[in-house]
């Protein structure tokens, strides 16, 4: 056995806890998880059945963590997990799973398959079986501060741009502000208008905020790669920046896995609760709306629909909030089928979008959303994750569909009543 294989198997062993054992103990091989999975539904290839993607983890659990399995193992009845197995499973664990969480919601015995995929990636990456793009992004993130490399110059340019547009100064590294704003690399590079929108909304609401030069980027490739050390390093950067400035809260940007990483995994990665609260930008906007501190004027009258990012809604619990806001600013807001908790993934989440090898599969998987959009025939799709935004634009173009995509914060900014 090679050293990397052994390291991978140990990483998998570390992931096995009572929930995992209860999930594997309860599976009745009914196959219903496949019916929920975008990759199975759009390809009808049974190899994409979610529980099957977890088979290596299941085998380790069975042969080492159950009494009867251990006995069978002593008689050599349990096949060992080999390097060849890991190679074969790499595609299943990374290319054909966006960690969207639909399977977790349909399994009749309640198996959280998505959480187990997340765990299985820890073992796969430790064994050197992760897609090179994710490994590369992790390296850039650790060395330069973002998966896209050094972003300070771009950030400073965008801030200047927003200041010019709004006439509101944005003070960097301001200690004692109410909130420290984080952005996703995607926003800085592709959708910087969100900055001006936030600037105006917060000014009107009387909120003080800042951006830290030490930690402004919120994405976390460690979560997608399945590497706790990388994930911890990246979360720590943000936590240290926020605690140094003594802010009351940190605003998680329109980015699905960043919210997952910061809000839910982060405290467990660093082993303690934060000294500040983490709030998703849309959660905060909805609070402000409820408190009467966010007022809009006029409405978008074109037909608009909403795309729920999996990590923010299904896996993040933010479902009502964007809808409250949508109704504020859109008079012809039409939901797609399955909207809300059971929404279908944009096809690019969980690192799949960055993974070259998965490109064809991803284009196929998008057919589900495509059909849903065709049914509604919207003029605009609004979402609250910059990576969903990016993926939707890419997919719509690939499928020759001419529909505008916009971030929700930006849309609110357009109709903000700031007189």
């Amino acid at each position: 056995m090679t050293a990397t294989l052994e390291r991978g198997l140990n990483a998998l062993r570390e992931q096995i806890d009572a929930p995992v054992a209860s999930f594997f103990s309860s599976c009745v091989s009914c196959g219903l998880c496949a019916e929920a999975c975008i990759f199975y539904r759009e390809t009808e290839d049974p190899k994409y059945t979610p529980i099957r993607k977890l088979d290596l983890l299941r085998r380790i659990w069975k042969s080492e963590y159950t009494l009867f399995g251990r006995i069978a193992n002593m008689f050599g009845l349990m096949p060992k997990v080999t390097e060849a197995d890991l190679t074969a499973w790499e595609e299943l664990v990374y290319d054909s799973c966006t960690m969207c969480g639909r399977c977790t919601l349909v399994c009749p015995v309640g198996n959280d398959l998505t959480m187990m995929i997340r765990k299985m990636r820890e073992g796969m990456s430790a064994a050197g079986h992760a897609p090179t793009e994710l490994v590369g992004a992790a390296g850039r993130h650790a060395d330069f501060g973002s998966p896209m490399g050094e972003l300070h110059p771009a950030l400073h340019a965008q801030i200047k741009h927003a200041e010019k547009e709004t006439g509101i100064p944005i003070e960097m590294d301001k200690a004692g502000a109410d909130y420290m704003v984080l952005l996703s690399a995607q926003e800085i590079a592709e959708y910087p208008d969100v900055l001006a929108a936030m600037s105006r909304i917060f000014k009107k609401a009387g909120i003080t905020w800042t951006i830290s030069n030490d930690g402004f980027e919120a994405t976390n490739v460690g979560i997608q790669l399945g590497n706790r050390d990388v994930a911890r390093t990246l979360v720590t950067r943000v936590v240290e920046a926020a605690e140094k400035l003594g802010v009351k809260g940190v605003i998680s940007p329109e980015c699905g896995h960043a919210y997952q990483a910061l809000r839910w995994e982060g405290p467990n990665l660093i082993g303690r609760p934060y000294k500040f609260e983490v709030v998703h930008i849309i959660e905060l906007l909805d609070h402000l709306r409820a408190e009467g501190k966010l007022k809009t004027k006029g409405k978008d009258t074109t037909k608009v629909t909403f795309h729920d990012p999996c990590q923010i809604n299904r896996r993040g619990g933010i479902n009502r909030e964007p809808r409250n806001l949508m109704h504020m600013v859109a008079s012809n807001f039409v939901e797609t089928d399955d909207a809300g908790t059971m929404n279908w993934c944009c096809s690019g989440g969980g690192g799949v979008g960055a993974n070259e090898r998965a490109t064809d599969l991803r284009f196929k998987a998008f057919n589900r959303k495509k059909a849903q959009f065709e049914k509604v025939a919207p003029d605009k799709i609004v979402t609250m994750c910059a990576y969903c935004h990016h993926t939707l634009e890419e997919q719509l173009e690939e499928h020759n569909m001419d529909i505008e995509v916009q971030g929700l914060t930006e849309l609110i900014g357009e109709y903000l009543d700031d007189e």
């Binding site: 096995i16 806890d17 009572a18 929930p19 995992v20 054992a21 209860s22 999930f23 103990s25 309860s26 599976c27 009745v28 091989s29 009914c30 196959g31 219903l32 496949a34 019916e35 929920a36 199975y40 009808e44 049974p46 190899k47 059945t49 529980i51 099957r52 963590y65 159950t66 009494l67 009867f68 977790t104 919601l105 349909v106 399994c107 009749p108 015995v109 309640g110 198996n111 959280d112 959480m115 809000r263 839910w264 995994e265 982060g266 405290p267 467990n268 082993g271 303690r272 609760p273 609260e277 809604n313 299904r314 896996r315 993040g316 619990g317 933010i318 479902n319 399955d338 908790t341 059971m342």
Partner: protein, 231 residues
Amino acid sequence: MNNPYFDLLMWARGPGFDIALIIFAAGMVIRVVEILVLGRKSDKAPAKGSPVGQGIRTVFSRSIPRKGLINYAPVTYLGGYIFHLGFFIALFFFGPHLSLFDSIFGFSHWWPEALSFQWPSFGRVIIESATALAILALIALMYSRLTDPVRRAISTFDDYLVWLLCVLPLASGYVAVNKLFGDPTLMLALHILSVELLMIAFPFTKLTHAVTFVLSRYYNGAIQGRKGAES
């Protein structure tokens, strides 16, 4: 009393049943304990919803399929419901089974007569229809397991064995009660033996889910509930 099968029946009812019960009970205790001892790390992220409440709710709510899903797998859902219901009705509401439970667990000893609750047994028509429907549901489920690509791909020996072990008590019970064929004493003995096989297999197969589903559904609800997300 010179029925040649009488000894077999007596063995099945006596020592056979005791052996099966011990393996079943001890095996299941091991299965549950080996899950619980693995423990789980306390979650340091401040909860948004209620993990415990939602965990408990999910133990029940997950019995209802999510909207729309039934269309994708009608046989699995309907077959699953009918089989489970039929099996439970036949197991828990057939008069002779109730007397048996009473003799094992001695409900009538534990409670004063006045408090002793009357667990009704169902009439023959209901029991027999439930049994027949459960068998038909199992046949449909097996058909889907053999023909549907997903179910065929994930099926193991365990799935086929458990299927057989579920059919046998239902079928033999039906034959024994209706004296359809064979010697009635033999049929009754075989019925009891088939149940004992099912009990013995319980801790070693996916039948374990009948107990551990409470844990898995609870954890699912608790994990989602902490985030204020649906489960």
